[in-house]
Amino acid sequence: MKRLFSTVVVTLAAALTLSACGGGDPLTNTSPTPADSGAAPATGGGGGKVVVGSANFPENVLLAEIYSQALEAKGVQVEKKLNIGSREVLYGQVKSGGLTILPEYVGSLLAFIDKSATAKSKEDVVAALKEKLPAELEVLEPAAAEDSDSLTVTRELSQKVGLVTIEDLAKVAKNYTVGGPPEFQTRQEKALKEAYGLEFKEWKKTGDATADAIKDGTIEVGNVFTTDPKVIINGLISLQDTKHVFGAGNVAPLVNKAGVNETVTGTLNAVSAKLDTAGLLTLMKRVSIDKADAATVAKDWLTQNGLA
């Protein structure tokens, strides 16, 4: 009896082990596909499954959901990999085909690929991207919706010290601590110094808690994304980027060319055509403040705009 029990246990375990070596994403509606791996080559020529990835902040998760559901409505098979990491981690995945689509921001993307880029307006940035992106990658039509990095302070501080632009900040920043996601310092420290002569006393890695950290005084300045509803709710104000260090932040899908076909690109372009900053801000309010889930909010928006 005991031997039988042991045999059954071992067999079950072995079976489970073997089946688990496949593994798909639990967050998809479709059943897990076998032979999934982050480094898998592109599914080839479109018409196959697309993998939509997202960076690790709520807006990007929302955008990924919007893209995914819009594609699914058009019959495309989608696998979602949400909330993974920063662009530094994800870019390579899109390039190698492990991810097919990633919601991106044209200005930041350009700065990431080409640190010496000087393009500022949406048109210039997109043109520069077309030039600088490797052959495997492509940026589709940018939306009107913009979300950029910022340097944000409380309204009190802005009034007390007279801070309206980042130039104003540069005069006092030596006494201030700045917060933001972990990659903020490596990405922007040099650019801010060169453009504004801006130097901070300390760089803290406050991540998703940045807006609250500014409010409760842990940091004086922080990088809060411009569509974060917390800017209004926490009584914060973003300083004007007069020298355009934070480039045009228009939302656009970054795609691996081999993994997408015309249905996919057409659908994504249709989504971008309807996405504007005011709309995005409203959606973010629902996600961050009302605690509605990205999937639901995406579905509602797509239905309202006739895209799903």
Binding site: L27, K81, T296
Partner: protein, 220 residues
């Protein structure tokens, strides 16, 4: 932040399907390391008992892997096992299980009283029969104690994988943190603890089934 209630019960109802998927993923990612760990620890532990010399070096290696922070290992494995894949979480957790299970196997086999082993020899048991019919069964309580610790630790550690894109129920912690939303976090913590409790109970049950003689004696 106090305006946000601790738990929004309707959220749970609406999101049950996705919670279930995360739970499923979590179970797989905690189960595989333990099973693999046990399957490897048994022969390795046996080897350490047979050739005492390799026990110390083996444990030194295990000690080092045990002191590596799990998050760092996940990150470093990504180029090898892929981003947001199960393997990235399973491989390190299997090693952590080994670090607990090898000593458990060695101590378990070591807990076999000499006179019992000698009786088995006297009765004409071959080494293999001795192992399977006498030594391993007696080692079960100690091995299972180690297995319980490995299981509970695995289940808890899987959630750290969320920081690199695959963490089962850990996703709920990240989502809740990003949106300052308590409900998913609390649901996640409760489910992880529940999962661990169930695993623990199942292993205790397995111990009772596998060691009927201890029930007769009235001890566990």
């Amino acid at each position: 932040m106090r305006e946000e209630p601790l738990v929004r019960w309707d959220w749970i109802g609406r999101n049950w399907p996705s919670i279930q998927s995360l739970l499923e993923d979590h179970v797989v990612m905690s189960l595989v390391p333990i099973v693999v760990g046990l399957l490897v620890a048994l022969p390795l532990g046996l080897a350490c008992v047979r050739w005492r010399g390799i026990y110390q070096p083996t444990m030194s290696v295990m000690n080092v892997t045990y002191s590596l922070p799990s998050l760092a290992v996940f990150v470093m494995l990504i180029p090898v096992t892929g981003l947001a894949t199960r393997a990235t979480v399973i491989v390190p957790l299997a090693f952590y299980s080994l670090a607990v299970l090898i000593p458990a196997v060695v101590d378990g086999l070591g807990s076999v009283p000499d006179h019992v082993r000698q009786s088995a020899v006297a009765m004409g048991f071959t080494p293999l029969r001795r192992l399977l019919l006498v030594e391993l069964p007696i080692a079960v309580p100690v091995v299972l104690a180690g297995l319980r610790v490995a299981a509970v630790s695995s289940i808890s550690l899987v959630s750290v994988g969320a920081l690199v894109g695959r963490g089962g129920l850990g996703y709920l912690f990240i989502d809740g943190w990003q949106r300052q939303f308590y409900t998913p976090i609390i649901v996640g913590v409760v489910l992880v603890v529940l999962l661990a409790a169930i695993a623990d109970a199942l292993l205790v049950l397995a111990q009772r089934l596998l060691t009927p003689w201890s029930r007769a004696r009235g001890t566990t």
